[in-house]
């Protein structure tokens, strides 16, 4: 393979036009609904993921609005305790399991391959399987909710309240299986990202030329891999206690109610960093592009990101400071919880330096990043406060914590919106409206602060969490009303965003390939990208490949256009290593996902579901791995081509 200076997307020469046509036939999805169901294109799957996760965001937001409406006045009778408990459980479960993590993995699944110069993820069919499993899990939860089988013991589902004695019926079992589905989907996404980033990078993209967003996705993927199995185990233990009568959480028979908390929070704390670290990555890309300067202190920023991923596994007991965990152990977690602030701080300082040294353009994505920093500072500082055990014993399980967690999570949403405004032109080919974007930002910023800042004081004033109402005599009514007004404002801002999206899709300004003059490889594709993304895979010579050459960029030549072929490169220096055959779109991932879905849903009702379902899943997986006639022929042609 030689590097020839040919523009990767503009098929200027006649052979490139032919190549582009053939590539479209090879990499394009079959037509119609069946084609859509069979698709394994990471861009198509990424878009589905993003839209589905956003729908869940809206649903979770509606649940939040109901909560705030109920709490706006003391002794309000809008929602009784039973339905309120279901709604706040659904709000937490939806936002954490169905929106936040899938949205972050979705952004990765869409942009990471493109940013590293690959045509698809490492295992495209597995990617499709992950999405379908996620969708089935979300449908399971919401079908349950609308039929009054929704879980009602909190998104954290503490035992013994969620155990067989105190939670009758199948509500908690639906929660447990939803977690299993989303956990499988997250693990699939993490496998894809790690394999793609490690082995499918463009030639020349050495380890220290990887874009910061891709680094953050890589850290997130490893964190998913190490944390998700714990929550899946915990939910399986809970399902076993409830279904077949095991005693894992029964203190009278040798189990322990605290075991649940350890298992859950060992996942639960990394989970929030799984959400936050990609947000940092997105914001970093925006900062670089809009400062028109490469990241100051790139090694420090990357290492801080990685350190944050590691350290986040050492914090989980800070959710349990009010329990019987011994003092000495707790103080260790105080120290780690405080120290992790440094990793975020280093990244923020690098951004400030980048902006200061650069020439910032105050466009909407950049403004969202500024808001992100402001909001996160409040959330992060209150986070350091609650790292202190004595202080946490006062504010644990109060609205102070609600304020803290929403500040940090909403900060991630600000960064996510920065990413949306930044990458929307790439995905759809149209720019989002700038003026509507500023209005959206303003309303969102005001709404979040008005909604959540008063909650710090509600918590200090004695108001616990997860309460469906409160007495008028407590005097909490005024701040609650103010907070609810903020929630309404936030909802309005989300509506503005939807209006912006709708108008932009219909009549927005056309974006062109690179509307922001950005530095990473996804801006070398068309907007929206073609199914094959690049006519020729790019070769990278620096950290900011798009800023190196204006017209002539080095590319890879000699890749096949009649078969789906991926270029595998080495880990550290991205030297081309081997060629990898990738299969055509197929319905098999969907079938396997349905088999998996059926198994886990059956497990809610009977342990035989596992036995019978495993057989069905095995059959599906064998069918998946079995090459059909067309794949067989292609593989033979592929191997002949290499030989």
């Amino acid at each position: 393979m030689t590097s020839a200076a040919i523009s990767p997307t503009e098929a200027v020469r006649e052979e490139d036009v032919r190549a582009a046509g053939e590539l479209e036939r090879t990499w394009g999805d079959p037509p119609g609904l069946m084609g859509w169901l069979r698709s394994t294109d990471h861009k198509s799957i990424g878009k589905r993921y993003i839209i589905t996760a956003f729908v869940f965001f809206i649903l979770g937001g509606i649940e939040a609005a109901l909560i705030r409406l109920q709490l706006s006045r003391p002794e309000n009778s809008l929602l009784g305790p039973d339905i309120y408990n279901q709604i706040f459980t659904m709000h937490g479960t939806t936002m954490m399991f169905l929106f936040a993590v899938p949205m972050m993995t979705a952004m990765g699944l869409y942009f990471v391959p493109t940013m590293v110069g690959a045509r698809d993820v490492a295992f495209p069919r597995l990617n499709a399987f992950g999405y379908w499993v996620y969708l089935i899990g979300g449908l399971l939860l919401y079908t349950g909710f609308f039929l009054n089988i929704g879980p009602d013991t909190g998104w954290f589902t503490y035992v013994p309240l969620s155990g067989p004695e105190y939670s009758a019926g199948k509500r908690v079992d639906i929660w447990a299986q939803t977690v299993t589905f989303t956990e499988i989907a997250a693990l699939v996404a993490s496998v894809e990202i790690i394999a793609t980033v490690f082995k499918h990078r463009a030639p020349g993209m050495t380890i220290n030329r990887i874009p910061i967003f891709v680094w953050s996705q890589l850290v997130m993927a490893f964190m998913i891999m190490f944390s998700m199995p714990w929550v899946a185990s915990a939910s399986m233990f809970l399902a076993a206690d409830r279904l077949i009568g095991t005693h894992l959480f029964n203190p009278a028979e040798g189990g322990d109610a605290l075991l649940w908390q350890h298992l859950f929070w060992f996942f639960g704390h990394p989970e929030v960093y799984i959400i936050f670290i990609p947000a940092l990555g997105m914001a970093s890309q925006v900062v670089v592009t809009f400062s028109r300067r490469e990241m100051f202190g790139y090694p420090a920023a990357v290492l801080a990101n990685i350190a944050q991923g590691f350290l986040s596994f050492g914090l989980w007991v800070h959710h349990m400071f009010a329990t019987t965990v011994p003092q000495l152990a707790s103080s260790f977690f105080t120290a780690t919880s405080a120290m992790i602030a440094i990793t975020t701080g280093v990244q923020f300082f690098c951004w400030i330096a980048t902006i200061w040294l650069g020439k910032p353009r105050l466009r909407v994505p950049f403004l969202f990043v500024l808001a992100f920093v402001v909001v996160f500072m409040i959330g992060g500082l209150s986070g350091v406060m609650i790292a202190s055990v004595p202080f946490d014993t006062q504010v644990h399980d109060t609205f102070f914590i609600v304020a803290h967690l929403h500040y940090v999570l909403m900060a991630s949403v600000f960064a996510l919106f920065a990413g949306f405004y930044y990458w929307f032109p790439k995905v759809t080919g149209r720019l989002l409206g700038e003026r509507l974007g500023r209005w959206h930002l303003a309303l969102f910023f005001i709404g979040v602060n008005v909604a959540f800042f008063p909650q710090h004081f509600l918590g200090l004033d004695g108001m616990p969490r997860r309460v469906y109402t409160y007495l008028a005599e407590t005097g909490w009514g005024d701040l609650n009303l103010l907070s609810s007004a903020g929630a309404v404002t936030t909802a309005l801002s989300a509506a503005l965003f939807l209006v912006n999206v709708w108008r932009s899709l219909r009549t927005g300004a056309k974006a062109g390939d690179d509307p922001w003059q950005a530095d990473t490889l996804e801006w070398a594709t068309s907007s929206p990208p073609t199914s094959y993304t690049f006519v020729h895979l790019p070769v990278v010579e620096s950290r900011s490949p798009m800023w190196d050459h204006s017209v002539d960029r080095p590319v890879v030549t000699g890749m096949r256009t009649d078969l789906r072929e991926a270029l595998v490169t080495t880990l550290n220096d991205a030297i081309p290593d081997s060629r990898h055959y990738q299969p055509r779109p197929t319905i098999k991932p969907l079938v396997a996902a349905l088999a998996t879905g059926g198994t886990f849903i059956a497990l809610i009702f009977t342990p035989w579901g596992l036995a019978l379902g495993s057989i069905v899943i095995t059959v599906c997986l064998i069918a998946w791995a079995w090459p059909d006639r067309q794949a067989h022929a292609e593989l033979r042609r592929f191997e002949e081509g290499i030989a």
Binding site: Y158, I342, I355, L370, M385, E473
Partner: protein, 323 residues
């Protein structure tokens, strides 16, 4: 005292108004932390906004070696200052937490058991006849340390009197303990702070800090069984109590009623609140609670009592004698 007067029957409930040394130390820690946090916030956000908004010299290049050196210096300083602040925070935290850990030897022992959705309170004693059992209202002497042993009979609850001390979870299968001291007389409200089911929102309690003499008097009164009711309506009320569903769950010492499913009612009329600090203890509230508890606390385990108005009035007359 003034605080609790302002709050009415509900009592004080804020972590920002400490009434004892434990809450006081935490309050001091909070003040230190929010001041430092505010300064850090202003510094970082100020730097960010300055970097983003300050006017740049014309022709400034993005590659500026002096700028890079300066930026390196500032980032290093900022990181160093952050580490220093965090270490200082850890130090202040350690100094605050140390005295909070172990209780002094002469503490008063109280045992609290959490149920869905009320608190059983016991003052243990070596002499069994001196033991006191009550519910939802804890009296403590001012100026004396109190150790509460906490346990739960069903799910996880959390005991939290905000004016006095931070919270502690009541975990079934584990016994935990917490200690505090009230230095200011008053009525302090607490609430369960771990989600425990339908009526988690209304599982409150009162801690009443009395001067020592008053506390001893209260304790003595609580030890007594209920005296026989005066003849008339109250006697009829006791008959209603013993014949209806009340005896299935409640104890009134001095009568045959001895069930421990629900709160001990022997001194019901001496309490300031009903239904785990949800209602003020008035005749009207008690009538409403007995007739239809599900309307006030939907999901509570107390069933409605099917009584004629005459029977209900007699029952209330009887219950009012239980001081």
């Amino acid at each position: 005292m003034i605080l609790s007067l302002l709050q009415g029957w509900v009592g004080a409930h804020s972590a920002l108004e400490p009434a004892g040394p434990q809450a006081g130390r935490i309050h001091a820690l909070w003040q230190f932390m929010w001041v430092v946090s505010a300064l850090v916030f202003l510094a970082v956000v100020g730097a960010l906004l300055y970097a983003a908004l300050h006017r740049r010299a014309a022709g400034q290049s993005a590659v500026n070696p002096d700028g890079v050196r300066s930026a390196t210096r500032w980032v290093s300083i900022a990181t160093g200052v952050s580490i220093a602040i965090l270490i200082a925070f850890l130090g202040v935290n350690f100094v605050t937490a140390r005295p909070l850990t172990s209780a002094p030897g002469d503490a008063l022992q109280i045992s609290v058991t959490g149920y869905q959705w009320w608190w059983s309170v016991q003052y243990p004693s070596a002499t069994p006849s001196d033991q006191v059992t009550t519910a939802n209202e804890i009296h403590v002497p001012v100026g004396r340390p109190v150790v509460m042993t906490l346990s739960s009979r069903d799910v996880i609850h959390s005991f939290w009197p905000a004016n006095l001390v931070g919270k502690r979870d009541l975990i079934p299968g584990n016994k935990s303990s917490i200690w505090f001291q009230a230095d200011t007389p008053g009525v302090y409200r607490g609430q369960c702070a771990e989600f425990c089911g339908h009526q988690h929102a209304k599982m409150g309690f009162l801690v009443v800090a009395d001067p020592p003499a008053q506390f001893e008097a209260w304790l003595r009164e609580q030890r007594d069984s209920a005296p026989p009711p005066p003849p008339g309506s109250a006697t009829r009320g006791q008959e209603v109590f013993l014949a209806a569903s009340c005896v299935m769950c409640h104890t009134i010492r001095g009568t045959p009623a001895g069930s421990r499913v629900g709160p001990d009612l022997t001194h019901l009329a001496s309490r300031r609140t009903l239904a785990a600090a949800t209602l003020e203890n008035t005749r009207a509230n008690l009538a409403a609670w007995i007739s239809d508890p599900q309307r006030i606390k939907p999901g509570t385990l107390m069933p409605p009592a099917d009584l004629t108005p005459a029977d209900l009035a007699a029952l209330l007359d009887y219950l009012e004698t239980l001081r």
